[in-house]
């Protein structure tokens, strides 16, 4: 069978060519580890639980005396809570380009 003809007829291959044109760094193994590992890690959110609980406690009571801490220091108040963290989309666009 003429392979040239098959390439133009096969819609899947045509779509594959489109994708490779858009993302030239696409990994060779699409269904491989990277993709699966992303699915396994769904829900992963990184933050410091100690800081999170301190911030939660701070919000409940009056703020503890700063004890010399500079009021302009924002690090203490800007601790992300699980709700604030952006959803880590387990989409592949990020990882496939990195691959």
């Amino acid at each position: 069978q003429d392979t040239q003809e098959k390439e133009t007829v096969n819609p899947e291959r045509a779509e594959e060519a489109k994708l490779k044109a858009k993302y030239p760094n696409l990994g060779q193994k699409p269904g491989g580890s990277d993709f699966l590992m992303n699915g396994l890690q769904k829900g992963q959110k990184y933050f410091d639980s100690g800081d999170y609980n301190m911030a939660k406690a701070k919000m409940k009571n009056k703020p503890l005396p700063s004890a010399g801490q500079d009021k302009n220091l924002v690090t203490g108040d800007h601790i992300p809570t699980p709700q604030d963290l952006p959803q880590r989309k387990s989409s592949l666009v990020a990882s496939k380009l990195a691959g």
Partner: protein, 420 residues
């Protein structure tokens, strides 16, 4: 209303349970037919609503645990109460739903409003009597099966022995006894020693409807393994391996992704099983492992759209499928709120739409058609006009009658055969 994430009829079909992304379970009950309103033949109304799961945070692993209900499975009814299993990513719960229509009155130690009576005032003894009250439906959690899954639970399946059930996550399958919550047996473990070597994950699992020692599980590579628990305690070696041979010359970047099986369901007869991959539904004869006996195209026109479907992640949507009570028909969902039904005997298929605009109550649904070629006929919809955000992933078919439940994002549609 939240996005519906699972739909399931009970064994009699009188109850229909839905789970949603917010962790709630809503159960509908079929009304008894009444002579005064023959046309409202068996409508479903809300019977019970309860919060099954709450969002959690695993601090040790920095893992957010969604409250979304992934699956609900009913237990066969054994007494007046109804039992169901509901699961999120990590925890399975056994819920008891019971009715209360009587209340005791005439207690000795307390008043009707609950206040304790002064013991010195009690001069005579009376026997409390039961009085009827407005029907109250109560749901209470009877068992919590937790901490057995490192990865995300995708399936639960009640065994035909009515004593055990299985739960499957991406890499492992566990066997539980309904009475025991502090232990479960691991029956399948496909986690590689080195995670770098991971090539496939478990996507669905189900017990055989009659043989309590047999179950199947499907994979992201489009294969199904049938296991027999009599052969060994750990069923890492399958008894049967189902895979359709692939034409190597037509292999593409997308081949493996679209072959990933999103659902597997045994037929009621137990002779066949059905699998759903991205573009098709396949019926397998359990006696033939090398290829399916029937293949139905759900939306073949999407094959030439795979690039954009990969970019918007739709290619990873997990569609479910279901059999009708007699195994003569199968149903599955698609995009644009379309769902498809296939008659296995006549080989006829139909596309219908679940949306408010296209159907008034009691109106007959009009078949839909997607235009694939050049000229679009009137009433046809072109592939590029399909709304890929309106996906029907969850459908259910009444175990005996032609009544179907279709979940379209946050709406539930119930369709019935037209009354003659």
């Amino acid at each position: 209303a939240d996005i519906i994430s699972t739909v399931e009829f009970n064994y009699s079909g009188d109850l229909l349970a839905t789970g949603d992304k917010g962790g709630r379970v809503v159960i509908f009950q079929r009304e008894q037919e009444s002579k005064s309103r023959p046309h409202s033949r068996g409508e479903y109304n809300v019977y019970s609503t309860f919060q099954s799961h709450e969002p959690e945070f695993d601090y040790l692993k920095s893992l957010e645990i969604e409250e979304k209900i992934n699956k609900i499975r009913w237990l066969p009814q054994q007494n007046a109460a109804h039992f169901l299993l509901s699961t999120n990513d990590k925890t399975i719960k056994l819920w008891k739903i019971s009715e209360r229509d009587k209340r005791a009155e005439g207690y000795n130690l307390k008043d009707e409003d609950g206040r304790l009576r002064d013991p010195f005032r009690i001069t005579s003894l009376r026997v409390p009597i039961l009085k009827p009250m407005d029907l109250m439906v109560e749901a209470s959690p009877r068992r919590i099966f937790a901490n057995a899954h490192t990865y995300h639970i995708n399936s639960i399946s009640v065994n035909s022995d009515h004593e055990t059930y299985l739960s499957a996550d991406d890499l492992r399958i566990n066997l539980w006894h309904l009475e025991i919550t502090d232990r479960s047996f691991n029956i399948v473990d496909i986690k590689p020693a080195n995670m770098e070597e991971l090539t496939e994950v478990i996507t669905a699992a189900e017990f055989h409807p009659h043989h309590c020692n047999v179950f199947v599980y499907s994979s992201s590579k489009g294969t199904i393994r049938l296991c027999d628990m009599r052969s060994s305690a750990l069923c890492d070696r399958h008894s049967k391996f189902f895979e359709e041979p692939e034409d190597p010359s037509s292999r593409s970047f997308f081949s493996e992704i679209i072959s990933s099986i999103s659902d597997v369901k045994f037929s009621h007869s137990g002779r066949y099983m059905m699998t759903r991959d991205y573009l098709s539904v396949k019926v397998w004869d359990l006696n033939m492992e090398n290829r399916p006996v029937e293949t139905y195209q759900v939306h073949e026109y999407l094959r030439s759209k795979l690039c954009s479907l990969y970019e918007n992640d739709c290619i990873f949507d997990k569609f479910e499928c279901c059999w009708n009570g007699s195994d003569s028909a199968i149903m599955t969902g698609s995009y644009n709120n379309f769902f498809r039904m296939f008659d296995r005997n006549t080989r006829r298929d139909i596309t219908l739409e679940a949306s408010r605009e296209s159907s008034k109550p009691r109106a007959i649904l009009k078949p839909r058609k997607v235009c694939t070629g050049g000229k679009r006929k009137k009433d046809e919809i072109s592939v590029d006009s399909l709304d890929f955000n309106k996906k029907i992933l969850h459908t259910a078919w009444h175990p005996m009658e032609n009544i179907i439940a279709v979940a379209a994002t946050n709406n539930l549609y119930i369709f019935q055969d037209k009354i003659n």
